[in-house]
Amino acid sequence: MKKTLFLSIALLATLSASAQKLISRDTYVHFFSETPVEDIEASLKDGVGLINTANNEFVFQVTIQSFTFEKALMQEHFNENYMESTKYPKGLFKGAIKGEVNFAKPGTYAVKLEGTMTIHGKDRGMTVPATISVTKEGLVNLESTFIVKPGDHDIEIPSLVVTKIAKEIEVKVKSTLRAS
């Protein structure tokens, strides 16, 4: 009897520990640069995300070379000339969720993500709005749309193409996180 109790408590403890982490391995990230001359967009589907529900800390990471463009040559230029993805292979957003959210209770929560965005090896503090919806099945959907400025991350845009690349690039993130 005692042994059963002991085991079940131990088991519960482990379960509750693992439930503290929400994980996504297929986060979708899309960006869009709009100018009168040219629209440029790219996306990836293999971003990785992690939320610690105990303290509401989060981290999202993408592999820059995973971004797929409509035009293959743009993708090469993006990697070679702008993002220098050999030197800076990852993009990262790390911080804490601000605002009320209950991962145990189904519902939709409007929150803010406050943290540091690292792109092209350059850190920048960011606070962006996000919507977190918890489904009845316990899945956590996170959606956020925000603006990234290439200039903030030391991404140089030569005068030759300055009319083709927007100063403000809209980034959309869609992530479904599950308990690990």
């Binding site: 131990a10 992690l50 463009f69 035009k71 030197k87 292979p89 790390k94 030569p158 030759l160």
Partner: protein, 300 residues
């Protein structure tokens, strides 16, 4: 006994707590994130050609590429009268398409000897970095069949096949760092018809090509075709083709400007039948302009 149990219980309860407390979310992310996918080297060369020589680059899958090549007249041919050759030019058009990422097929027409050609490039290995086995080089096979359509002037009857020549090259290239890439290409050219009975139909050579990036959008290029049988027969009139150039990239275009002693742009001709010599000033200013067209775009 009971106390022991209690400690064990406490320990088990505390363990997960400890593991939350000391974790760095980022370190944990590295643990759960899939191992970094193999990173393939991109842009070993800016263009699918170094200058005249094909590079290991192929247009991406679903992408077509139009190339216009120009070679002006010789700098030493009445330079002031012909404005350093700008008054006369040979031109080449070519269009190629990559149905899949490892294959490119195309056709072209060069005005020198009014030569038509069809070609294919197949990529075998890609230089990469990451976990597991990585190829240190990118390799490809390039083949080209040309047909000369100028009339024969020797008064004999000729078979149609006398107009044909075939080129085979095995391309091996390595991007040593962000700036420097180098390529070696063993070459076999077969001429169905040669000028003299003593000439060989099969000609061997090795093509060397390199590029050095000066800025993000500009690179120096150079190439040399070392003919294995140069001077192997009497009065061999042909030199080795040597070209130096600059690649300039502007979004969808690549501009390649160069100086070369090879005026013809058809493969068998520039490789094995280059009469011009740098030492004598038989130098031609030329350019290639490349424009890509996306026929099949990936879904975003």
């Amino acid at each position: 006994m009971r106390v022991k149990h209690l400690y064990a219980l406490l320990g088990l309860l505390i363990l997960p707590l400890v593991s939350w407390a000391q974790d760095d979310l980022l370190a944990e992310l590295d643990a759960i994130a899939p191992p970094p996918p193999k990173a393939y080297v991109y842009a070993t060369f800016k263009g699918t050609r170094v200058i005249n020589q094909q590079s290991v680059e192929l247009p991406a899958a679903g992408v077509g590429q139009f190339v216009i090549g120009h070679r002006f007249g010789a700098l030493n041919d009445q330079p002031l009268y012909n404005l350093f050759g700008l008054d006369v030019a040979q031109i080449r058009f070519e269009y190629s398409y990559s149905p899949v990422k490892w294959l490119n097929v195309g056709a072209g027409r060069s005005s020198g000897s009014k030569t038509y050609d069809g070609f294919a490039k197949v990529r075998f290995t890609r230089q990469s970095s990451g976990s597991g086995f990585n190829w240190p080089v990118t390799t490809a096979y390039y083949t080209n069949a040309t047909m000369v359509t100028t009339p024969f002037s020797d008064g004999f009857d000729h078979y149609f096949t006398d107009r044909m020549a075939y080129t085979h090259q095995f391309l091996v290239a390595r991007k040593f760092n962000e700036a420097f890439s180098f390529q070696i290409a063993p070459t076999l050219v077969h001429f169905n018809l040669v000028e003299k009975a003593t000439d060989k139909n099969d000609r061997l050579g090795i093509a060397f090509g390199g590029r050095y990036k000066l800025t993000q959008r500009m690179a120096l290029t150079g190439e040399y075709m070392l003919r294995a049988d140069r001077g192997a027969w009497e009065n061999d009139p042909y030199a080795n083709a040597l070209s130096i150039g600059v690649d300039i990239e502007t979004g969808g275009h690549v501009f390649q400007f160069h100086l070369t002693n090879a005026r013809s742009m058809a493969d068998p001709q520039w490789m094995m039948q280059t009469p011009g010599q740098w030492g004598k000033g038989d130098i031609f200013l030329g350019f290639n302009i490349t424009r890509v067209f996306t026929h099949v775009a990936p879904e975003l």
